[in-house]
């Protein structure tokens, strides 16, 4: 238990008191405030520092272990673990950034494809003679659509379609690689599946309340909302956007007709594809906001180099 709480990243280990790196620029002033380890220049990874006091030039750390117990310890009592495991493994980082590139390519080309017919339908077929489910009030890139605008946007459908499908391949291959690795390596079990105790409405409500009050996280492992969000993006929304995309293919529909019919038809697939893309875009936007709120530099560094702190 104790060892689990202490993931140390020792930058400078003084011979005598085994004192740890001081908080950058601020010294080791005693603090009564509950502060997260990360604010201490990266000395700690998972334990919560309650207090740091200075004694004889060596720091004394007080940690919160688990939910309630806390221990005080002088630096000398701290187990001499030396390295902190990387926050993000190489596989996560590589697939993350390639998927990021894919997402933006798919987004831009998807919008390009959409503006050639910014109307959505439900069912198998839909065209300008059909009542749309809804219209997006923008001009179109084709003169065949009555948009109410007196002009037609430049048509970029050709390369957009080529790039959309090529990128979709890359994204799907990345997804397969990531998911099979995630299952095999225990990444999902360890980092994404919520703990059994967290699977209650109470825990969920507590996590939501904590988010609403912009409270910093207790530890560097993913919190409940994060886990649920990532899991739904990986196992619900990405599969759904791939499925609805494939359901628009007349050739795929000829092999797996049920892929289209259970969605309500080819135009329904197109409409769902649009909404799932909107959900994914919202996820990415919130994801970026959260990164900015929790420390843009640290989060970016963690996803690029794997290291959490400088």
């Amino acid at each position: 238990m104790q060892n689990r709480a202490f993931y140390w990243r020792i930058r400078k280990q003084r011979k005598a008191g085994r004192c740890f790196e001081k908080r950058k620029g601020r010294g080791c002033a005693p603090t009564g405030k509950k502060e997260h380890a990360r604010s201490f220049g990266g000395a700690l990874d998972t334990a919560t520092v309650l207090r740091v006091s200075s004694k004889d030039g060596a720091n004394c750390y007080h940690f919160l272990v688990g939910d309630s117990a806390w221990i005080s310890t002088s630096a000398s009592a701290i187990p001499a673990a030396t390295t902190v495991p990387a926050r993000h493994s190489a596989m996560v980082r590589v697939t993350h950034w390639i998927t990021t590139l894919c997402f933006f390519a798919l987004l831009v080309t998807g919008v390009e494809i959409l503006i050639s017919h910014p109307r959505f339908y439900w069912g198998e077929a839909g065209n300008v003679n059909t009542t749309p489910l809804f219209k997006i009030p923008i001009p179109a890139s084709r003169s065949t659509v009555p948009t109410g605008y007196g002009y037609v946007l430049p048509d970029q459908n050709g390369w957009s379609r080529y790039l959309h499908f090529q990128t979709a391949w890359l994204a799907v291959l990345m997804g397969l690689l990531y998911v099979s690795w995630g299952v095999f390596s225990g990444h999902f079990r360890k980092n994404l599946l919520p703990a059994g105790a967290d699977l209650s409405w109470r825990a969920f409500a507590a996590a939501v309340a904590k988010h609403a009050r912009f409270k910093p996280p207790d530890s560097s492992s993913y919190n409940l909302l994060q886990r649920l969000t990532y899991l739904s993006v990986i196992f619900v929304f990405f599969p759904l956007v791939i499925w609805t995309g494939l359901a628009m293919s007349p050739a795929i529909a000829s092999v797996f007709p049920a892929m289209v019919s259970v969605l309500g038809g080819q135009q329904s697939a197109r409409t769902i594809h649009f909404f799932v893309s909107v959900v994914l875009l919202l996820f990415v936007l919130v994801h970026i906001v959260m990164i900015c709120l929790t420390g843009f530099k640290n989060r970016m560094r963690a996803m690029i180099t794997g290291r959490d702190h400088e």
Partner: protein
């Protein structure tokens, strides 16, 4: 450290060689089995090749979905109008009796068929979905003679790999591989929803390839050329579509 580096180097080397030879073998096999589309060399050719190869393996004998009569889109949808040139107008005034479908290239007996001849052959009617790359679609009942029947009549040579088809509108031509050309649902359509094929929908004769997008369904067909090499047509990309920036294979 040195040891590790060398081991890494050797492993990487072996992996790279295996990968490269694997790709070469895959390329060879893909070419042998006709899994490389003619526009594989364009900027996004890699994705196109994957799509075409995957779908050729999956869809060789699959049938496009057919619908009940109640699903037919009403009112019938028309995209664009017929050619306005003098040649087409004169044919139209003559009730298209002089319309001919010429079939040439790698065939034993090149021939030209009138519409009456085409209509005298066994016909196929199917209620299928036609989707445009723009996003709209409609369902209609198409009637025509299966392309495979016409190809049987002229005697396609064994080495043939593609059928190139040309519209009376010279800007519009396309091609399909033999898997699609011999597919039972690929028809030379002359009827729509029980009547004549309207001019706006491609009458008097339109290629109907229901497992591909609308733009492969070229209207006003006057000529078919059977070939084993698409390099000789246009810019060598297989059809007018890649020349305009669109994929040759439109099964998506």
């Amino acid at each position: 450290m040195n040891k590790l580096t060398r081991r890494k180097l050797i492993t990487t080397g072996i992996a790279a060689t295996a990968g490269a030879s694997g790709l070469a073998v895959a390329d060879r096999l893909a070419r042998n089995y006709g899994l490389i589309p003619p526009d594989s060399g364009v900027l996004y050719g890699a994705g196109e090749t994957l799509t075409y190869a995957a779908q050729r393996i999956l869809t060789n004998h699959s049938l496009a979905r057919e619908f009940p009569r109640s699903e037919i889109s009403k009112p019938p949808f028309v995209n664009g109008g017929p050619p306005t040139d003098e040649v087409f107008r004169r044919l139209q005034e003559g009730g298209f009796v002089d319309w001919r479908l010429a079939v040439d290239g790698m065939v034993a007996r090149p021939a030209a068929f009138s519409l009456a001849e085409l209509k005298s052959y066994p016909s196929r009617s199917q209620i299928t979905h036609l989707a445009c790359e723009e996003g709209w679609s409609y369902i209609a009942e198409w009637t025509g003679v299966p392309l495979s029947h016409v190809l049987d009549l002229v005697g396609v040579l064994p080495k043939a790999r593609y059928v190139v088809y040309f519209s009376i509108d010279r800007d519009w031509w396309d091609s399909i591989d033999m898997a699609d050309a011999l597919h039972p649902q690929t028809v030379l359509a002359y009827g729509l929803n029980g009547g004549e094929l309207p001019l706006g929908n491609g009458g008097p004769l339109r290629m109907r390839v229901p497992r591909q997008l609308g733009y492969k369904n070229v209207k006003y067909i006057t000529r078919l050329t059977v070939t084993d090499d698409l390099k000789r047509f246009g810019k060598g990309l297989g059809s007018a579509s890649p020349e305009a920036g669109y994929a040759w294979y439109a099964g998506i």
